[in-house]
Amino acid sequence: MWTIIHKMGSPPWFFRFSGGLVKWLLPLTVCLLLVGAVWGLLIAPPDFRQGNSYRIIYIHVPSAVVALAGYYVMAFAGAVSLVWRIKMADVTMRAVAPVGAALTAIALVTGAIWGKPTWGTWWVWDARITSMLILLFLYLGVVALFEAYENKSAAARACAVLTLVGTVNIPIIYKSVDWWYSLHQPASIKFTGESAIDPSMLYPLLLMIGAFYCLFAVTVLLNMRAELAWNHRDASWLKQLVQGT
């Protein structure tokens, strides 16, 4: 196990490894997204209460789920960077933050659009949507903090501390927003309720969640490779790689 972490930590090894990985992961992500979208839009039946607007679930729920998972990935990378001072963990954290923020924004936009036909207003203070909004602020806080520091390795450590504090707070935020919502609003239909989803809708949803996880992995790896290429532009191993190909 330890050699894996050691190898993961060395930029040349990771650069080659991620190069091979991205080569097949990117096409896989694209086709997963296509199949999931076609399945969700064309084949799956509409919801008997909400009608066809329910088809937005196939992008709203996956982006929300992966966005939240992304924050925990960032927190894990932050912890590794704080404890073991592995430079790769800083690069990972810097690569995940914008992707997570983008996915959270997608979840918010699709949620707002979905709210229009269902509740007649573009913005609805539903528990799930409000928690998503707060998650977006947490992400933006990390991105802003990273840009505010000149010395980038100090920035990574500061973001690691902020992310860990944020991770401790996320469950509390989600719970408090749920209580806040249920207190002020009689429990009308839960937006993305855990109500049993009919299998014909569940499978495309699971496929899209998988597709979004692949999308997350691919974009993070691409961000990391771009970052590594710039950080190590003077390194000999990279120059050989460039001249070699």
Binding site: I134, A144, A154, V161, L162, V168, I173, L183
Partner: protein, 232 residues
């Protein structure tokens, strides 16, 4: 020759750090008056904005009081470590033979006494201004006492993270407002439950748990954040 063997215990260092900042704050009364004045002025804005109708104000009083408490703690925490960072005592704090988290906690508690505690004591005045029913005032004070503890601690983490950045003020609020949301929700709900005669104790218990949790977790984060800021 060095005076004598080191005879300073941990709580001695904590008390020393606390008294150092308590004295510095007492010496500059503006530091104490500002948050209260800010609270006072912003509270008067709401009736101007929402109309003088007492019934409506009373209904929204818990929310208004708590949002303004959050904003005033935001304003204060920006200056928490700024003066120490400039005059170099933050460096000495990091080198002291005691855990940085405990020393920073000493400093933060001095700040809390000067801002959060006083805010809680003065809150009945602001509550009466907005016409908050008498049943809610005691709960408001208790919730502010517990809430400002969390707000000051989280503000201290934000301040420690942004102390070495030149114009860190705006960034500070972006960092800590999301973290302050649970405190705001619990505080407002506790007071409105008390006003409606329901039992606010469960919400106050939640806030107590949040306060103790922050007391345990946040100083470690403050210490780590200060070391990062000093490492520039």
């Amino acid at each position: 020759m060095p005076a004598s063997e080191s005879n300073l215990t941990l709580h001695g260092a904590f008390a020393r750090q606390f008294s150092r900042h308590a004295r510095a704050i007492i010496r500059s009364p503006a530091e104490v008056a500002n948050p209260l004045l800010f609270f006072f002025m912003v509270i008067t804005l709401f009736p101007l904005g929402l109309g003088p109708d007492p019934q409506r104000l009373a209904e929204m009083a818990p929310g208004i009081l708590w949002v303004v408490a959050l904003l005033s703690s935001l304003m204060v925490s920006g200056k928490l470590f700024a003066s120490d960072y400039e005059d170099g005592s933050l460096e000495q704090l990091a080198i002291a033979p005691f855990p940085l988290a405990v020393l920073a906690l000493g400093e933060v508690s001095a700040y809390w006494l000067a801002t959060g505690f006083l805010l809680a004591l003065a809150s009945p005045i602001f509550a009466l201004m907005l016409g908050l029913p008498a049943t809610g005032i005691f709960t408001l004070m208790v919730s502010l006492l517990l809430g400002t503890t969390c707000l000051t601690l989280i503000g201290a983490v934000g301040s420690a993270l942004t102390v070495s950045i030149r114009r860190g003020g705006m960034l500070l609020s972006l960092l800590i407002i999301p973290l302050n949301v649970p405190v705001l929700i619990f505080g407002t709900t506790a007071v409105s439950e008390a006003v409606m005669g329901g039992n606010a104790t469960s919400w106050l218990a939640l806030m107590g748990a949040l306060a103790l949790g922050s007391l345990a977790v946040m100083p470690v984060a403050i210490g780590a954040a200060l070391r990062v800021s000093l490492d520039q």
